[in-house]
Every structure is written in C-alpha cells, then in structure tokens.
C-alpha cells in the first residue's frame, strides 16, 4: 500500500505548506481544503457526531470526514446533492440535514432519506433541534418555526408571537426551551401542550445587539449569543439574565459566526477578522485578543471543538484545525529578544523574565508584534549567556544564577543589585537551580548546595550562606536541580548518586536500592498531592511512593533527553524534550504526544527552563522562542475512537449492520476501519484479529485488511486503535459473521448421496436380473418353438400328404419324383440347420419357403398360388427362422383350397415390413386351431426388442405384417 503512504505524506506536506508563519502569540494550526473531487463545493456547515465522525455540509450535499477521506453518505439518488444549510444530530444518534431549498433529510441506516412530514418550501432550513419530549423543531429563514411530533407538523409564526420569521439559529436548552435568534433579538419559546409561550429578548433586556446570528449552549446549559455588530454575550437559561463578556461598544471584529464557550477561554469565529480567542480570566475586560489565520481565513463561517479538544473552523473552501488547543507560540524576533531562551521565570505580576542570547528581558504575558520587552541591565562581567536560572523570592528580589559568576540579586525596584560568589561564602560559583521554602532559599551548584535565610526584605541585608556537600550527607556535589516541596522537604537531583532528600534536618539518599535504576537525575517536580516525580538521564520517569521510587511503566519513547518535567494544575505532567512535548495524564494514565503535527518539533529546550504563571499556564523556553501551555479546558478523549467503515465481499460492499451470514463461496472478505484521531490521523496504529482464523493480534498501520478463501464457520472480526501503541483501554469494534459450509461438508448431503447410490445399484441389479430372465425366457421360447416346429413338420399329415404326392409323382415322372424327394430333404435339412438361430436373413427364409411351396404346390396344383414381391434392399434383412413357413402353413391349414376357390398367398416387402396375406376362405370345420403359431411369432418378436406384429383381418383377406430387422 505504498500509494497510501504517499498520500499521507502528501497530506502532511500540504498541511505544512498551508501553515502560515507564526507571529506574535498564536496557536499552531493546519489548513485543509476539500479534495479535488469536491473542489467546487462550498462548505456551509460542520459538526462532529457522537461517534466522532466530522460532518460537512456543502453546496453540493453532505460529506463525512474521518481524518483521511471525505465521503458522501449513500443516497438513493442525486437529489441530496443540494446546498446544505443546517446539520444536527439528535439524542438517538440520527443525523439530520437541512437544505437551502427548504427540504430536510435524515440518515436512515446509513442512507439518506427525505423527511416528508415537513412541508416547508423555498426558504432555507437554518436550524434543527429536539427536546426530550420527542418534539423536533425546525427553524427557517422566512417561514418561522415548525414543530413536528408523531408525523404531524405545525408552523409557528408571527401570530404565535414570533418576533421575526427569518431565523438565523435555533437551539434547545436543557429544560426544553427553544431559543431562536433573528434580526429582532432572541425569542425563547416554552411549549406547553404544543402551544408556545414566547419570551422576547432585545436591547431592553441587555442584549448587546438584536441581530443574533449564532446561539450555542454551554455545558452548564446557558446560552451564548453571537451578534452581528457587538460581539457576544451569555444568557442564563433560567433567569434569562444577559451577561456581556466583552466590551460591546468597542467590538470591531465583525459579525460573530461561531462560539466555543468556556470558563477560561472563549473561541469566536468572526466574519472579517478570522478566529479570536478571548481570555476570560479577567471578567468583562478581555485582555488578550489574538486573531490569526491570515488572508485566507478572514471570514470563517463556524467553529466547534471536537472530542479530542481540537478546534475546527471553516470558510467556504478551507477547513482549519488547531490540534489540541493547548499551546500558543511566541517566536523570537528582533523586538522580543526570544532567541534561545535558556532561563525563564514569572514574577509576582505574572510578567515573564527570560534570559536569551540577546540579554535578560522582562515582558508582559501578552506578546504582540509591536510590544517590546524591558531589557534588564546586567552588571559588567555577567553575560546573559551565563545565566542558568532565575528566581524571585518572597520579598520580590530576583536571584540570577550564573555559570561561573555566582549569584546576582536584583532589588524589587529593579534599580540595583548585588553579587554573591564563593568569596561571600557561596559553596560554588556554578549555580544550576534555585528554590525556596518561605524565607529559606536553596541553591544547587556544581560543588554542593548552599542555603541562606532572609530575615527582612531590605536590600541592605547581606545573607549568610550555609553550605552542604557530600560530607554532610548529600549524594554528591554535582546537583542539577533543587526542589522544595509543600511539606518543607528539600530534594536534590544529583549527577551519579540519585536523589538526596533533606527532611527534618536529615539527609537521605535514594539510589538503585530504592528503585532509582538511573542515578543521573535531571529534573524534579511534584503533583498536587505532593507526590514527587523525577526524570532521569535515560529518559525514564519515577515517582516517590513513601520509601521507594517507582518507575512509570508507560512507554515514553521521547527519543531525546527529557529536559524538564512540570505539572499543570490539573495534574497533567508535561514532559519536555527535543522531539516535542508529551503530556501524561496521571488520572487515566494516558500519554498524549504533541510533535510536528501540533507545531512542536523540533524544539531545543534548555534544562528546567519552564515557568508557571498564576493563571495556570506554563511557559516553556526553547530555541525558537516561547511556548505557552494552557491546561485543557474540557475533559477530552485520549485515545482514537475506532469505527468500522465497510465490509466487502469480493470487493462488493455489504450492509454489515444487518447482514452477517454468507454462503460458502462468499468467502473473500475485506474490512475497512478508521481510528478517528484528527490530532494526527497518520499516527494511529491498529491491532486486528479475525477470531476463528487468526491465532493472534496483528499490529498494522493499514486501515484495510483482506481475508481470502475463508473456510466455512463462525468468525468475529475485532480491531482496536491507538495513537501510542498502548491498546489497553482503547476502543474496539467487533463484527461477528458466519460463512456457510459448502454442501459437501454437510452430513445430510452424504446421507443423500448414499441413498441415491444405493438406489442406483439396486436399480441396476434389478434391470440385470430382468434381462437375464428375459434371455432365459427367450431361450425357453425358442426351444418351445423349435419343438413345436419340429412337431408340426414331422406332423404325420404333412409326411403322409407328402408321401401321397410322391407316390402319385413316382408313377408319372421319375425325375420329378427325385426332385420332390430332394426338395423335401433340403426342406428338412434347412429346418435342422436354422432352428438354433435367433435370426436368419430373409434370403435364407425365402429358400425355406420356396422349398415348402414347391412341396405344397405339387399337392394343390393350380388351386394354390404364391406371389412374392421382395424389394432388393430387403434381401439381407433379418427375420426369426421359419416365420414365413409358419404363416404359409397356417394359411394352407385354415383355408379352403379348391378349383373354384383357389388360395392366393402374397408375400410382399413394404415400408412397414414384410406383409404375408391371403384371401380369406375359412374352412367350416377348423382342425386343431390352437393359434399357437401366431402367438409364438408375436412372442419372439417381443423378446427380440419389443417389435410388434400387425395382424389385419377383413372379410376377404387376412394379412400379417412382420417387422423386418435391419442388419
């Protein structure tokens, strides 16, 4: 999947390219535009659904975005590709889309459908909301408000007390009141039994402006209103009291198009001045405004915060994303002297002191492009490059620790100062860290630690230094950091001997035996409960649990030395290193990394160059300038949410929400899934497994997996996503399905086959038996026939008649008599010759019949005639032996033969067969007519293969048609 990787690289590159240069104090942001496919679409609305997907309303329909792809939801036709004017998700999770055309659609089982209950025409739908009693509300720009419940819609307009029919924005508060903003202020609708009571808010109620174009509900249920000309305000949803949070008269940022409410910071999108972050810590007089986004982003149309805490905004063709909303950056320039900040502190007025290559400076916490810092003059002999640490004591003196030059203390009025070196009793001139407990100040040096106690705040006081080194119980004399905790204990981070603690005047050193596997300690801090944490030179973190240090198991992979660790006031631990800043949430034990995608890489932080400000923010000095961290405003999700995008069978998508059974040959399945992590989509990795097929989890960065040739059976596809390779508490998807076994793997199929084969064998045996029986029968028949024929030929009548004829001939014609006897003998010889055969040729049969006729003619003379018409092609046809002879004999036997009534026999070959016919002149007294002859012939033909004789009897003729068997 190299093309995919290329794509991601391209995405990252385009993000970087689109990032404008930071100036003044700004968050880092990334700008995206819609892909080529949708480049003509203008963005009109955006929101995040409860699953985490981002929905984008455009001038050509709605799109969903998972951090990688923009996709259209499935729709039955193209009628949904029209300008969107409102997006909403209800309590059940259903997505609603309002269109500029006045129509409303929703997503039903992943497919778009129009909401036909609402009969709003022509004017745009500007807002959709719902309450807990099942009512839906639709605001329009021209037709007022519609309420819908149980498939019936009611329209509310001016007769119901609505101040304006053109509504910009609609929200429902937690009590079910509906708030509608228009050019006439705000109408608050309370519905009782479907009828609204309207309370109107205007100038007289304290609204800064009556053109209310944006309404947003905050977490406490209060309503924030953004106006066209005078900024924004907050309205208490119970008392309807309006609090103006900015100086309305001086608002010159333009119409408010979006608000992210907050206690500490409020984000506002404006038409004309881009995005604005308003610090709320100084109520009513916001101190810091910073607008950014550049020329491209002066007219954003909306704003929201996602579940990860990222800030999103959009213009008609751009989407801006501020990852995390935690950091603001001040980069070094000619004015502010922020080049390679290596020491940092905040003083009692929250002003920032920083030492950089350019000098020592004091600056207000709000950096703007024009403002210049105050340069603190240093006494000759001290270069700002030598400054290692800055510290303000309780009396307001600022202590400057240097490398090699000892200490310099600046008076609170900044007008003078004093040097302290080894000559004055300081243990060493290389100061690395300063800390204090009340009036007791501790100095960490490369030659041990010094302590001095201040008695009063006069600048004349000359402190006395008490010194401590290895001999007093310090682990060793190289101390990187000194930290004083709330219990009055002093902790020393040593180079090579772990941590030494001074508690109740006693030094205790903690090393490998106490759990500290690394003995070089760089940084010490403590959380709000007083638990001490430290960072070691091998990039591990330890926390102190009573007597021992315990190593944090969470994988950090900082990749470079941790230069400082510091807690924010919400107990998130900031881990600062060259590759970025990692934030460890001590409550849910999760680690979030902020690197290049958040604008924090690479930075060159100096050791312990951080400063906490009384407003909760933490300043981090680094090679590029300053980073200001503000604790997250809201609880955010800390892991990607994984969703199943599609299930495909042979690359054809299936409706996986309902379908989970497949036939045996639908066994090539593809699963596509995404871990939603807009902060850094490319960083998400997945663990996938097909239960019933895979034996173990598979770790992958691909968002698609194929399984081919799955055998029949039950399976469950499972996938998890993580941005830190820690899958322990991540979200998971699973999809269970069955593939049917092929028919030949089913028991009943084999039973069926067995039965069929048995039946076949039985049938074959039966047929064979039948055939054998028939052959037997045929044999018996033949034998019977032969016997009968013989019997009839040796019939005494025939012989007697023949002999009588012979006697009469012998007298008259000797030669004829000889011929006669010869014919008789041939006749009998033929009978003997052919009787064993089943079939003989017609020629052979005709020879028999000719002999027979010759014998009979001598007896009956002219009274009997036989006519034969045999077609040439029939001579070689086959016939059972003696058949013709039997028929001719029958004709002679049963008919009168006299001079008056001669017998005429015709043997003729026709298309039907061989026809033997005679004129019918039956004898009155029939002798021995057993009908045996015909029956035998018929039976023989039958046994030979179901051939049938045809017997035709009329008054005049009797004929038998024999089938001729072709050779």
């Amino acid at each position: 999947m190299t093309w995919k990787k290329h794509f991601i690289t391209c995405l990252v590159f385009s993000c970087i390219l689109l990032t404008s240069k930071l100036s003044a104090q700004e968050p880092f942001f990334r700008i995206n535009s819609l892909p080529e496919k949708f480049k003509d679409c203008q963005i009109t609305a955006m929101m995040q659904d409860s699953c985490g997907l981002v929905w984008i309303g455009t001038s050509c329909g709605v799109l969903k975005f998972d951090g990688f792809d923009f996709k259209k939801p499935t729709a039955p036709d193209g009628n949904f590709d029209q300008p969107v004017s409102a997006l909403f998700q209800d309590f059940t999770g259903r997505i609603w889309v309002g269109f500029r055309s006045g129509k409303v659609a929703f997503l039903q089982e992943n497919s778009m459908e129009f909401f036909t209950v609402l009969n709003n025409n022509d004017v745009p739908v500007t807002g959709i909301t719902t309450d807990h009693s099942g009512f839906y509300y639709f605001s329009t720009y021209g037709n007022g408000i519609y309420t819908v419940k149980n498939d019936s819609a009611i329209n509310f307009g001016s007769t119901n007390g609505l101040s304006d029919l053109s509504i910009y924005t609609l929200v429902a508060d937690q009590e079910g009141k509906i708030w509608a903003g228009s050019d006439a202020g705000i109408d608050v609708l309370t519905f009782s039994e479907g009828k609204p009571v309207v309370q109107h808010l205007g100038f007289e109620h304290g609204l800064p402006d009556i053109m209310v174009e944006k309404l947003v509900i905050d977490d406490e249920g209060n309503v924030w209103a953004g106006t066209h000309d005078n900024g924004f305000c907050r309205i208490d949803s119970k008392t309807l009291e309006v609090s103006i949070l900015n100086n309305a008269a001086s608002w010159d940022f333009g119409p408010v198009t979006g608000i992210i409410p907050g206690r500490e910071n409020v984000w506002i999108s404006t038409h004309g001045n881009g995005l604005i972050k308003v610090a709320m810590n100084l109520v009513k007089t916001p101190k810091a405004f910073s607008s950014f986004g550049g020329e491209d982003f002066l007219k954003p149309d909306g704003l929201f915060r996602d579940q990860e805490g990222n800030i999103w905004s959009f213009t008609s063709n751009r989407i801006i994303l501020i990852p995390g909303d935690l950091f603001e950056f001040v980069s070094g320039n000619e004015n502010n002297g922020l080049n390679n900040v290596h020491a940092l502190m905040t003083d009692r007025e929250n002003f920032l002191w920083y030492a950089s290559e350019k000098g020592l400076f004091r600056h207000s916490p709000d950096f703007s492009e024009k403002e210049k810092p105050q340069k603190i003059s240093l006494p000759p002999g001290i270069s700002s490059r030598d400054i290692t640490c800055l510290y303000q004591d309780t009396f307001g003196f600022v202590w400057i620790g240097t490398f090699g030059q000892g200490l310099y203390r600046i008076n609170p009025d900044l007008l003078g100062g004093r040097f302290y070196t080894e000559k004055n009793g300081l243990v060493n001139n290389n100061i690395l860290s300063i800390s204090s407990i009340g009036q007791e100040i501790w100095f960490a040096t490369l030659g041990g630690a010094s302590r001095c106690k201040l008695s009063d705040g006069s600048s004349d006081e000359f402190p006395v230094f008490e010194n401590f080194d290895e001999s007093e119980g310090l682990g060793n004399n190289f101390i990187y950091c000194v930290y004083t905790d709330k219990q009055g204990q002093v902790w020393f981070a040593t180079d090579g001997k772990g941590i030494t603690r001074l508690s109740n005047g006693k030094f205790t050193t903690f090393g490998a035996d106490q759990g500290l596997l690394s003995n070089k300690i760089y940084s010490i801090t403590a959380d709000s409960r007083g638990v001490v944490w430290c960072a070691t030179h091998d990039n591990s973190l330890y926390y102190f649990a009573g007597e021992k240090f315990i190593r944090l198991q969470t994988r950090l992979d900082a990749g470079s030395t941790i230069s400082s660790i510091v807690f924010d006031r919400k107990d998130n631990l900031l881990i600062i290193h060259e590759n970025g800043i990692d934030i460890f949430n001590t409550q849910n034990q999760t680690l979030l990394k902020y690197r290049a995608e958040s604008g924090i890489s690479p930075i060159k932080p100096e050791f312990n160059s951080t400063a906490a400000s009384s407003d909760g923010s933490i300043w981090i000095g680094n090679g590029n300038g300053l980073i200001r961290y503000s604790p997250p405003e809201k609880k955010t999700i800390t892991r990607p949410v994984i969703i199943l995008n599609s299930v495909e069978v042979f690359l054809e998508p299936v409706e996986f929400a309902v379908k989970n059974k497949f036939t045996w040959d639908q066994n090539h399945l593809s699963f596509s899934y995404t871990g939603l992590w807009f902060h850094n989509p490319a960083n998400v990795r997945y663990k996938v497994m097909l239960e019933g097929y895979d034996l173990d989890w598979d770790l992958t960065s691909d968002r698609l997996i194929n399984y081919s040739n799955l055998p029949g059976g039950s399976y469950t596809f499972r996938a998890m996503a993580s941005q830190s390779d820690d899958f322990s508490k991540g979200s998971e998807i699973s999809y269970s399905f069955k593939i049917a076994r092929p028919i030949w793997q089913l028991w009943w199929f084999w039973v069926l086959i067995f039965t069929a084969v048995s039946a076949l064998v039985y049938l074959l045996v039966k047929i064979r038996l039948n055939r054998i029986r028939r052959i037997e029968e045929l044999k018996k028949e033949t034998i019977m026939f032969q016997f009968e024929t013989l019997k009839s030929q040796v019939n005494p009548h025939f012989l007697f008649n023949s002999f009588s004829t012979l006697i009469s001939i012998i007298e008259e014609d000797k030669n004829l008599a000889v011929e006669y006897v010869e014919k008789l003998s041939v006749f009998f010889r033929n009978i003997l010759e052919f009787r064993d055969k089943d079939l003989i040729t017609l020629d052979e049969e005709l020879e028999i019949i000719e002999n027979y006729i010759f014998l009979q003619k001598k007896r009956y003379g002219e009274n009997m005639s036989v006519e034969m018409k045999i077609a040439d092609n029939h001579h070689l046809s086959l016939i059972p032996p003696l058949t013709l002879q039997l028929l001719v004999e029958n004709a002679i036997k049963h008919n009168v033969i006299s001079k008056i009534k001669p017998l005429k026999i015709t043997i003729e070959s026709t298309a039907e067969g061989l026809c033997v016919s005679n004129n019918l002149q039956k004898k009155s007294a029939v002798s021995e007519s057993t009908g045996f002859g015909l029956k035998t012939i018929r039976r023989r033909y039958q046994l030979m293969g179901d051939l049938a004789l045809k017997i035709e009897e009329t008054n005049q003729t009797f004929s038998v048609i024999l089938p001729l068997i072709k050779t």
């Binding site: 050019d183 006439a184 009556i210 053109m211 066209h228 000309d229």
Partner: protein
C-alpha cells in the same frame, strides 16, 4: 353658522389628511444622491448621481431603493464614463442597481431625533445579489427624514472584472456615499 361650517370643513380636511397619512404610511424620497470613489494607486475616480429614488414603508420598516446606472456623471474623461457604462457596470444589460430590505432597529418616524440604524437587504449591482447590512444615520425633523450612509462595494463581490492593465487605476474597493431626503407620501 358660517363659523360652524368653516370649522366643520376644517375638521373634515384635517381628518382626511391624517387618515391619508396613516393609510399610506410611506416615506418617499424627494431627493437622493449617490457618490462613489475609487482610490487606486495611480488614479482617483469620482462619480455621482442624483437620480436615487426610494421608499420606506413605516409599519414594517421595509425599504426599496433604485438608481439608473447611466445616471452617474463625473469621471475623469468621457471615455472613462463610457467604459464604466459598457465594460464594468454593463448598463445595457443591467440598467439599474437596487437595494431592498428592512431596517433592523425599531424606529418611530414621528419622533424628531438622530438615529443610528442598520439596513439589511439585498444589494443588486451588475446583476449579482449580495446580502448586506449597511449602517445608516437618520435624522427626523418635523416629518422630514434625512438619511446618510457610507459603505464599500467590492468589485469581486459583484463579479465586475477589471482588466489587469487598469488594476493600478481602478480600486478593488469602491466607497459609496448615499444621502437622501424623505417626506411622507401624500396621496
């Protein structure tokens, strides 16, 4: 008796005029002037028209204004004027520019005083409609209403394209100044 009749006639007259005023409730412009200025690096172009006409309907605060695009006079040369008519504003195709909408703030035109109001409406120039909110200064003095407004029109917003050759002579942003006098419509 004569006095009684005279009084009666007077009263009737007074009532009818009052009734008429109430019935129409319309303010009609008596004179209206529009100036525009284009301040480009190489040239400043000014033009004006006195043919702006408009009405304000008092009860619902709606208004409508219209001006003939060919009524603008001034310019730095007749050729420039011709260019304006034919190439930029395309007066043959789009003979008028209009602004129609509603006044946001409630106002009582019978009360003398100075008012800062916002007029929201659709500005139609060069056939391209833009929704605008324009700030207006209004002064009422004995039923006579004077209005003054200044606003910017971006050529891009109204799809008026200028050739690259003259972009140094014609500003992207045109500043428009409007002043009007109204009186109640009496008929």
């Amino acid at each position: 008796m004569v006095r009684f009749y005279a009084l009666a006639i007077l009263l009737v007259l007074a009532f009818t005029t009052l009734a008429q005023q109430k019935a129409t409730g319309i303010l009609e412009s008596r004179s209206g002037k529009v100036d525009f200025v284009s301040e480009a690096p190489l040239e400043i172009i000014k033009a004006s028209s006195i043919e702006l006409k408009g009405l304000i309907r008092e009860p619902d605060r709606t208004f409508a204004f219209s001006i003939s695009n060919r009524s603008f006079k001034g310019f730095n040369s007749p050729l420039q004027q011709e260019h304006f008519y034919e190439n930029y504003i395309e007066a043959t195709k789009y003979p008028v520019s209009t602004f129609e909408g509603k006044i946001i703030e409630p106002i009582d035109f019978s009360q003398n005083g100075e008012y800062n109001l916002r007029a929201k409406g659709v500005l139609d120039i060069h056939g391209v409609k833009q929704e605008r909110v324009i700030k207006v200064k209004l002064s009422v003095k004995n039923q006579e209403v004077k209005a003054f407004a200044q606003f910017d029109v971006l050529l891009e917003d109204h799809k008026i394209t200028i050739p690259k050759m003259v972009y140094q002579k014609l500003s992207e942003k045109i500043t428009v100044t409007v002043s009007l006098n109204f009186q109640p419509k009496a008929d």
